[in-house]
Symmetry: C2
Subunit: 537 residues, 2 copies
C-alpha cells in the first residue's frame, strides 16, 4: 500500500499508489487501498502520480484513486502497460492521461524537477526518483537491488546516483524490505543456474510458476526451453497477458516456433513440454493450484513431472501454498521450491544490507528516511545508516501519516496527516466499512440470534409467542431447548416492563437484548449478536 | 493433533492424544481435537493411552478423549505433571488413572510389551516407544533429535535403539518434522552461547520469552542469571506454574535467592533484572505481548532493555508475532529473535536429515512409516529412507485414517478408518459443528439479511409491510433504498404466488429467499445469507 506525497508551496506530486492484500481477519474484503482523505484535501495542488515500477503494491490502487483525483500518471513503458488493463477494467482508459517516463529524460512538474534513475528489481523498468526542488534534491529509491549481472545487462545506474551524491542530496528515502538479510542479494542470473539444473535432469513435463511480471524470469525460462528443445506454454490469465504484451513490445525475446498453445502441448511428448504458470501463492483460481488438484482444463500432471515454484512465500500465504505443494506431491510430481535444501529457484528483488549501505554511500544524503518495511525493519535500517560514515545528519523514523518538513535550515517533523486503510470488495468496487467488518467479525465468532416480537399496536401485547431464529450459534438439536428458555426470558422481560417501556421500541429492544445476552452467556458461555425485531401488527 | 492406535487381536493401545490450534479460517474455534469415532468403536479393547512427551500436540486432547474413553494414561513424571492441571481444569483428576513410565522399565498391556526409550527433544523426559507384539517389534520415535550435549547430560539412548536394531524391528514410525533441514540440528547448548553473549552486553533489563515447557531453556536462563548476578522472575501463568512444578520436583535447579517476585523486580536496578516470560507467539493475553503494548501490571520496558524471543515462529502466527516485535521496537528495546542475522537464540527440538538417517541406520526396520509432518515432508522422509542402505523392504506413505496390517508374512495397507477433526470452543467445552462453521463463514463473507413477514393466519395476507433487518451487509445509508426495493421484491413474489404456496411456509420462504438473493446479487454483487421468517398472527 505504498504511497508518498511530496509538496512544495502550492504544488504536490504523489509517488506510487499501491494496494495490500488482506488476510482472513477481514472477511469479504478483497483488497486494501490507502485512505486518501489527505489527497482529497490537497486535490487542487496535485500535479501527477508517479510510479516507480509496476508491482501491485505500487500501482494497484490507481483506479480507485484516479476515480477521485484526476491527474496524469507517469511511469515507464512497461509500468504503464500494466496500468492500462486496470484502467480498462474500470472503464477509465479514455479519461486518464498516461505519460511515459524514461531514465535520462527528466521532466518538470511545477517546482519539481523529476529524474528517473534506473535501478534493478525483480520487475523490469523499475527505478528511483531524484526530485529536485528549490530547497534541494530528494531521492526516493522505490524498490531496488544492485544486481551486477542483470539478465538484460541494464545495471543499476550507479553513475547518476554518484552524480547526485557529489552534488549534494538533501534526503534519501530508501527501501528497507531486506534489511534483515546480511551480504548481497544474489543476481537474477543465479536462478538460471538453478532452473537449468532441474530442466537438464527432467524426464517429463517441466512446470514453472512465477509472478507474471517477473519478465527477467520469463526470459530465463524461454531461453532454457529453447536450449533444451522444449516447447513453451503460458498458463493463467496474467501470464498469458504479460507474455503477449512483452513479446509485442520487444521486452521478451522468444524464438519463432517456441511458444505453443495448451492444446498443442497436450499432444507433445512430455519431455518436450515446458510451461510458465500463475499461482505461486496457491491462489485457488490460478493455474498451478488448479493443476495441483487436477482441475485444469488444459493440462494434467503425471508422476515424474517436475514442478518449480520460483517465488517467495508471501507471509500469510503459507497455508495455501503448502496445501498446494502437498497436492502436487500426491500427483507424484517432483517439487522444487525455496526450502533451503534445493538449488536456488528464486532470488529476491530487494537489496540486502551491503546494498543498502552502498546506496547510502553513493547518495550521501544530509537526511535519511528508511521506507518500505515494518517498524522493526525501518529501525534496523536506521541503525545501519548510523553506522555508515560520514553518515546523515539525522535519521527520521517515520510511520504512515507522519510529515517531514524541509527548508533552508534543515528538516523536522511536522503535524501528522490523516491516513489509514480502506477495505474494498472488488466485486462491487465498494468500500467495506469498519462497522460492517465489526458486525461480520462479531457474528463469525459466536453467531447471531434474532428474536422477533409481533406486538399489537393497540394493546401493546404480544400477538403470538416470540419467534427466535439463529445462525452460527448452537446446533439445531440443542437450539430447541435453548430457544424455549429464551422465549421465557422474553416473556419475563415484558412482564416486568411497564406500558411506556413496551411502547418505546428502542427501550424494549435493548431490555430484551440485555436479558438474552445474559441468558445465553450463562447457558452456553457464548456471546452471539442478539438482534431483536419488533413488528407492530 | 497426533494420535496413533496400535491393535493386536482384541487389544489396542493409543499413542498420544494431541490438539491443533486453528487459524482465522475457523471463527470462534479455540482448539481442534481428533475425531475419535474409531476409538468409540473399539472402546472396549483399548488398554491405555501412552504419551511420548508433554507438548500440547501430544497431550492437549486428553480431557476431551478421556471424557468418553475411560482408560489409564501412561507418561513420564514430567509429562504427567503437565497432564494433571488439565484434568483438574475439567474436574477429572479423581477419575483418571495416571501411571508413570520410565526408560528401562518396560511394562505389559495385554499382548503389548512396551518400553520407553529416552530421546532428546525440546521438552524434558521425552522418548520413543518400542512396542513388542507376537508378530514383532514396532518403534514409534515420538518427537526427537540426537542432541550430543543435552543440558542435563541425558543423551538419547542410542544403545537401546541399537539393541532393538540388532534383534530386528518390524516397523519404524519416525518423526518427519525437520526433514527439510540438511545436516544436524544444533545442540540446545548452542542457545546458551547465544543468550550468554546478549546478557553479557546488556545494560538494562533482560527479558527472555520461550515455551514454558522448555525446561532445558529455563535452566540455561536460570544459570546465566546466576552467573551474571541478576535476579530472575517468572511471568505468565504457565511459566509460573512450570517453574514451580519443576523446582519442587528437582527438574529445575535454582540457587536460593535467585528467584524474585515481580514486585521485587520492580525495585531492583535494571541491570540486576532478568525475566522469563510466556508469549513467544504474540498471544494477546500472554506476558510478553502485554509488556510490548505497555499493559503489563508488573513490568514495563525502558529504552535499552533487551528482549529475546527464544522460540520458533509457528506458521500462521507470523502476523501477531511481528506486530508484537514492532511494538517492542517502539518501546526502544533491543530485540533478539531468529531472523538469521543474530547469534542463535533458539534451536529446534527435531532432528534434521542426518539424524533421521541415523535413526534409520540404528533401528534397521523391515518396514518404514514416516509420521509427524505434512504430505510433502512424509514424502521426503520416504525418499531419505530409500537412500539409506540396506534399506527397508517397503516404505508406507500413510495419511490420517490409513490402516497398516502386519502378520507373519509382512505388511500391507488395509481399509481406512474414519478420522477427522472436531472444532472445540474452549469456553463451553463444546464441539463447534461443521454446519455452524459454515453458517459463520457464509455470514462473515457477505453478511446476513432477515426479511420478516407477519401473515394473517386466516386471510393469508400480510398484516403489515415486511420488516427487513441486516447485519454485515451494506452500510446504513445505502441500506434504506436497498431494503425498500427488497420489500417490493417480496410483494411481487407474494403476488405471483397462489394461496396454497403462501399457506405453505416452507415454499413461500424459499421463493422469497431465491428472489431476494437474485435481487441483492444484481444490485450489490454480494451474496448475503437470506433468512426469511414468517410470523402467523
Amino acid at each position: 500500500m505504498n504511497m508518498m506525497v511530496f509538496e512544495y508551496g502550492d504544488h504536490a506530486i504523489v509517488v506510487d499508489c499501491g494496494i495490500m492484500f488482506p488476510d482472513t481477519e477481514l472477511p469479504g474484503v478483497d483488497i486494501i487501498i490507502p485512505d486518501i482523505s489527505y489527497l482529497r484535501e490537497i486535490r487542487d495542488r496535485i500535479r501527477a502520480i508517479i510510479l516507480t515500477h509496476g508491482h501491485e503494491d505500487h500501482i494497484g490502487a490507481l483506479p480507485y484513486v484516479l476515480d477521485e483525483i484526476d491527474v496524469p500518471v507517469y511511469g515507464t513503458s512497461f509500468t504503464l502497460a500494466l496500468v492500462e488493463p486496470k484502467l480498462m477494467e474500470h472503464g477509465m482508459e479514455e479519461s486518464v492521461v498516461l505519460r511515459e517516463m524514461k531514465p535520462g529524460a527528466p521532466f518538470d512538474l511545477g517546482p519539481f524537477h523529476v529524474e528517473l534513475i534506473h535501478l534493478t528489481h525483480s520487475i523490469i523498468e523499475a527505478g528511483g526518483l531524484a526530485i529536485t526542488t528549490p530547497v534541494g534534491t530528494v531521492i526516493h529509491t522505490g524498490d531496488f537491488k544492485f544486481d551486477p549481472t542483470p539478465m538484460d545487462q541494464k545495471q543499476s545506474d550507479l553513475h547518476t546516483l554518484a552524480d547526485y551524491g557529489r552534488k549534494g542530496v538533501l534526503a534519501l528515502f530508501s527501501d528497507s524490505t531486506n534489511v534483515d538479510r546480511p551480504g548481497i542479494t544474489p543476481s537474477e542470473r543465479a536462478v538460471r543456474e538453478g532452473l537449468s539444473e532441474i530442466i537438464a535432469g527432467a524426464k517429463g513435463r517441466v512446470l514453472i510458476s512465477c509472478f507474471s511480471t517477473s519478465v527477467h524470469r520469463l526470459q530465463i525460462v524461454a531461453d532454457l526451453a529453447h536450449q533444451y528443445g522444449r516447447r513453451l506454454g503460458f498458463l493463467g490469465r496474467s501470464m498469458d497477458q504479460i507474455a503477449r504484451i512483452t513479446q509485442q513490445t520487444g521486452k521478451l525475446h522468444v524464438p519463432p516456433g517456441l511458444v505453443a498453445e495448451p492444446q498443442e502441448l497436450r499432444k507433445l511428448p512430455r519431455s518436450k513440454v515446458m510451461m510458465l504458470l500463475t499461482g505461486t501463492q496457491g491462489e485457488p483460481m490460478a493455474a498451478l493450484p488448479r493443476v495441483a488438484v487436477n482441475r485444469h482444463r488444459a493440462i494434467s500432471l503425471d508422476p515424474g513431472d517436475d514442478v518449480v515454484i520460483s517465488a517467495r512465500v508471501i507471509p500469510g500465504n503459507e497455508k495455501s501454498i503448502f496445501r498446494m505443494i502437498d497436492h502436487l506431491y500426491r500427483r507424484g510430481a517432483h517439487i522444487h521450491y525455496e526450502d533451503g535444501s534445493q538449488p536456488s529457484v528464486h532470488v529476491s528483488g530487494h537489496g540486502s544490507v551491503e546494498e543498502l549501505k552502498l546506496m547510502l554511500n553513493l547518495v550521501r544524503p544530509r537526511y535519511f528516511v528508511p521506507i518500505h518495511g515494518e517498524y522493526r525493519q525501518l529501525f534496523r535500517h536506521m541503525e545501519i545508516a548510523q553506522q555508515v560514515g560520514p553518515g546523515a545528519e539525522e535519521v527520521f523514523l517515520l510511520e504512515s501519516g507522519d510529515v517531514l518538513e524541509f527548508d533552508e535550515e534543515g528538516a523536522r517533523r511536522a503535524d501528522r496527516v490523516s491516513v489509514g486503510r480502506v477495505c474494498i470488495d472488488v466485486g462491487t468496487f465498494d468500500e467495506v466499512g469498519d462497522v460492517i467488518l465489526k458486525e461480520r467479525r462479531h457474528i463469525s465468532e459466536d453467531g447471531i440470534v434474532i428474536p422477533i416480537l409481533a406486538i399489537n399496536e393497540h394493546t401493546g401485547r404480544l400477538e403470538v409467542p416470540p419467534e427466535i431464529v439463529s445462525r452460527g450459534f448452537v446446533p439445531m438439536d440443542e437450539a430447541m431447548d435453548l430457544m424455549e428458555s429464551a422465549r421465557q426470558v422474553i416473556f419475563k422481560t415484558l412482564e416486568v416492563s411497564n406500558t411506556e417501556e413496551i411502547a418505546d421500541w428502542g427501550v424494549i429492544k435493548e431490555k430484551i437484548r440485555t436479558a438474552l445476552r445474559r441468558h445465553f452467556d450463562q447457558e452456553t458461555g457464548k456471546r452471539p449478536m442478539v438482534l431483536p425485531v419488533v413488528l407492530e401488527v
